[in-house]
């Protein structure tokens, strides 16, 4: 496998778990699926729709998100926002992320 391809697959592995934390961080304000996808992309956390949309429903099923249909506009859309439990989980995950980032940057310092 060429080097670029290896980096690509491995970095996908690295990013995989971060989408949940990014979602939880962004959904302090309610958003619908496509808007969240765009916001994530703009924020530098690219994710595919076919991954994100089922993920949001799963997070809702786990009680981390709540949802509501908004029919004010011409096209009804399902808006998601973070629940109280989701906030607590987000704090825990954010702490975990900080620790991990610190450890990894310490480990990889000499290579930069």
């Amino acid at each position: 496998m060429p080097e670029e391809e290896l980096i690509l697959t491995q970095s996908q592995e690295l990013r995989r778990g971060t989408v949940v934390l990014a979602c939880l961080a962004l959904l302090e304000t309610p958003q619908y699926g496509y808007a969240l996808l765009e916001t994530l992309n703009d924020a530098g956390v690219p994710v595919d729709g076919n991954t994100l949309y089922p993920l949001m429903r799963r997070l809702e099923k786990q009680g981390l998100l709540t949802s509501e249909w908004n029919t004010d506009e011409s096209r009804p859309r399902k808006f998601y926002r973070i629940s109280a439990e989701g906030s607590r989980v987000r704090e825990g995950l954010a702490r975990e992320w900080q620790d991990l980032a610190t450890s990894i940057s310490r480990l990889t310092k000499e290579y930069r």
Binding site: Y32, G33, Y34, A35, E38, D48, G49, N50, T51, Y53, P54, R57, R58, W69, R75, P76, R77, K78
Partner: protein
């Protein structure tokens, strides 16, 4: 809303594969999301944009599996090792035995060597195919019932693993010898059943008689033989693995049920012995009904005890 646009067809293909109570909600959301995405593209080329968006969303089957949180593998990583192990035992141990027996029977019945070899090949294909098919079906069903949450952490669905679960060393212990004895005993039973059929060992009026009711061979004897073969295989697995696991004990329960239930039914209905054989042995004396009832119940009770023992050992 339920037109025949590409999007409608796509959404339909996704939601018909997910649980019915989520269908409408997922359909509405997915349709809105796809339309949102298409709107954000070039409005001049709407149709092409719709196509592109659907291509990006990918195979509806895959998306549906993600929505339904369903495993995308027939047999997942959790079960795969035991699946392969069991398949190996069946194909490398049980299948050769069955094949050898069928060849011997053909020869015994006076078939030519060529015909006997033909029977053997037929047995390999048919019985081997059945073994693979049924084992796969059963494991796929177990996969779908046990690991339904579909999350990567499905290990946590089982009991917490601890080093105490490690099988004890390979040194023989009391259980190994009993497993060995059980395997031999059940293999012997299979041999006896087939022998009394082929050799018709009881002599009455210069004619050979089978001990068991010949009608059994067009029905109940097959699950019994299959169950006995399963018991032999599982005892051998237990010998190889050094102990019963909950999974092998569960398999043992299936095999034992395959033997015990038909056997109890046959006994209860007085269809166990060949009537001619009974008449020849007993003369005018009739076996009391109670004997059959007690025998049928004993079979069930003993089997239940055997199964219980395997599960107890599995939990030690």
């Amino acid at each position: 809303m339920n037109g025949n646009t590409l999007t409608d067809r796509y959404v339909h293909e996704v939601v018909r594969r997910i649980p019915i109570n989520q269908r409408d909600d997922v359909a509405d959301e997915l349709r809105a999301t796809i339309t949102d995405t298409v709107d954000a593209r070039d409005p001049e080329r709407r149709e092409a944009a719709e196509r592109d968006v659907l291509v990006e969303m990918g195979d509806p089957t895959l998306l549906a599996a993600r929505y339904a949180d369903r495993p995308l593998a027939l047999i997942g990583a959790e079960l795969y090792p035991s699946y392969v192990r069991l398949l190996k035992v069946l194909l490398l141990t049980v299948l050769p035995i069955v094949t050898a027996v069928s060849v011997v029977i053909s020869l015994w019945e006076g078939d030519s060597v060529g015909a006997a070899i033909g029977d053997g090949i037929g047995t390999i294909l048919i019985v081997g195919g059945q073994m693979i098919a049924w084992l796969t079906v059963i494991f796929a069903l177990v996969e779908r019932s046990t690991f339904q949450d579909g999350s990567a952490s499905s290990v946590s669905t089982g009991a917490e693993w601890s080093p105490d679960d490690l099988p004890e060393g390979r040194q023989p212990n009391q259980w190994s010898s009993s497993a060995c004895a059980a395997a031999v005993w059940n293999a012997l039973l299979i041999g006896l059943i087939i022998w009394q059929r082929v050799a018709e060992p009881y002599r009455a009026d210069g004619e050979g008689l089978q001990v068991l009711d010949p009608d059994l061979w067009s029905g109940w004897i097959w699950p019994i033989l299959a169950g006995l073969a399963g018991v032999v295989a599982l005892e051998l697995i237990r010998l190889a693995a050094g102990g019963w696991s909950v999974a092998t004990a569960a398999w043992y329960a299936v095999a034992e049920a395959l033997v015990a239930i038909p056997l109890a039914v046959v006994l209860f209905r007085h269809e166990f012995f060949n009537p001619e054989f009974l008449a020849a042995v007993n003369g005018g004396w009739q076996v009391p009904d109670a004997v059959y009832t007690i025998a049928a119940l004993s079979v069930l009770v003993i089997s239940a005890i055997e199964v219980g023992q395997r599960f107890r050992e599995a939990r030690r």
